[in-house]
Symmetry: C2
Subunit: 310 residues, 2 copies
């Protein structure tokens, strides 16, 4: 039983009030605050040994990542981050120094993205390091871009090369906050998600919410140098399709808007190239080989497995 | 080095934008959202073995507590809860059943307090259970009641008997959300805090923010039956003064408002008696013995100690 099955179970049990414009199941929730104001809300928990190795990453980059993954969720809605609260569970031994370095890394990124740290909860315990960030944001331009809204014929784009983020990018990536706002102002984003679980898995999430399928042209997938260097028996393409935590944006636009994006590359001055991966189709998830043959595209990213046994 | 010293360190480093009406250091943060709307934001993390014993409490009451402690923070600002996001770190073995029961307990309380669960993050790992809730709320009546605002001569009240919450109340308490709103409508609350760290410790927090001192009349402290039953060598009074997690409200009002509260007991129909504990003084924290003798009141609640050594 995976985390996704559990989330589906939750969604079936979650009747929300009219204040909730968008509940569980997208990158962020959207809340209707009084006076016609919308509020984006997201949260992510990082657990030592599962989401990071403390000795390898060091506390500064762990603190940075805890905020960055949330910023990426706000970016996926084309939102603007506003304020965060931070909870930590610190190992008792060395907890103070750890806390200060965690906060240092987090704070640096918060300043860069004009995000206020407005509160939190500090605990110590006899367990490994845990850090949770909840982040509030506000919509921009035409409003929040959800995972739903892609249609057959739409083109699919990604904001950067994929795969092998475990070699470093999962700790040092730049959340695509500015890029998303620029795209939102430049074109009509029909659906968007950030790639946290892996291209194939996140494309599946987007298609599920949009009620369509998609095909990815293998030759069009931008493969990162880190994916080429993995040397673990799996191909670089498989890493690009399957690896999680690249935190690039995957989005759908109409074919004509897609042509304009490819021609103009409106994020070039930010150092970001837009790659056309493929397009939406009525049903199924497919990979198209260079010889034109179509095969099912299996989600293969990391999934939190939940044991069903008591 | 305690969590409080760390929080002070954080506060000195936390320059917030004009959007932040109230940053770290109170029960909740207060954010100025556009269009003159304020948003209360709070978060709490519960860690197995430190904040609860899973075998003893069972997952339903742990899920309940994770939300309840946040509701209590919103109550301490006289706010109304609106929506929560929930992150969990689940042990791999039995994680699914655990998650469902956690959610069941949390959901029941959320329904009771008309709080939407709008999102979250589900993880599994090889560690103990961790659950974090971040809760948004909105101010009521005259606006958020902070810890600052009490003055010498003000009377101090508490909404219920104290001590020995470890015997059960820390899991089953009713967050004083309705009580706080009723009080806010009925009188002028000058400062308020919920008793999570213990009466003496939380009174110290309130006095520190208000820039005054306080005295507690020992004979006036309402002692819970659970405190009487502790039988651990410490007096029931010491338990009432020191024990954490009663989640009653501690608040200050003017002496004349205090007389009216005592006379009218406006929460009586909710089953809640208001007790006058003592009053604010210019400086110091004092306990007054029945013979009139004054002694320093030492904070003695639970504190998360952070080891400073690397």
């Amino acid at each position: 039983m995976s985390e996704f099955a559990y989330i589906d179970w939750l969604r079936r049990r979650t009747a929300c009030s009219p204040r909730v414009a968008l509940g569980p199941g997208d990158d962020t929730a959207v809340l209707n605050w009084p006076a016609g104001v919308s509020c984006l809300v997201t949260t992510d928990m990082l657990l030592e040994g599962s989401c990071f190795l403390l000795d390898e990453a060091g506390p500064r980059l762990v603190g940075r990542k805890a905020l960055a993954v949330n910023l990426s969720d706000i970016a996926a809605m084309a939102g603007r981050p506003v304020a965060a609260v931070v909870s930590v569970g610190l190992p008792r031994r060395g907890g103070r120094a750890l806390a200060e370095q965690l906060y240092g890394g987090l704070r640096e990124l918060a300043d860069q993205f004009k995000t206020d740290i407005i509160g939190g909860d500090t605990n110590s315990w006899n367990g490994p390091l845990v850090i949770n960030v909840a982040l509030l944001g506000e919509p921009t331009g035409r409003g929040p871009v959800t995972r739903a809204g892609a249609q057959p014929g739409d083109w699919l784009f990604v904001t950067g090369a994929l795969g092998g983020s475990i070699r470093g990018k999962h700790l040092t990536f730049t959340p695509r906050v500015e890029e998303a706002q620029r795209l939102q102002a430049w074109t009509r984003l029909k659906a968007m998600i950030d790639i946290s679980d892996g291209l194939a898995a996140d494309l599946q999430h987007l298609c599920k919410e949009s009620g369509c399928g998609a095909l990815v042209e293998e030759a069009a997938v931008p493969i990162s140098p880190a994916a080429e260097q993995m040397n673990d028996g799996r191909s670089a393409l498989d890493h690009a399709l399957g690896d999680g935590e690249d935190f690039e944006l995957l989005f759908a636009v109409s074919a004509s808007d897609g042509e304009a994006l490819l021609r103009e590359q409106p994020l070039r001055d930010l150092g970001v190239t837009l790659y056309r991966l493929g397009e939406c189709v009525p049903a199924g998830l497919w990979r198209v080989q260079p010889n034109g043959e179509r095969k099912p595209l299996e989600p293969m990213g990391y999934v939190h497995e939940l044991d069903g046994d008591p």
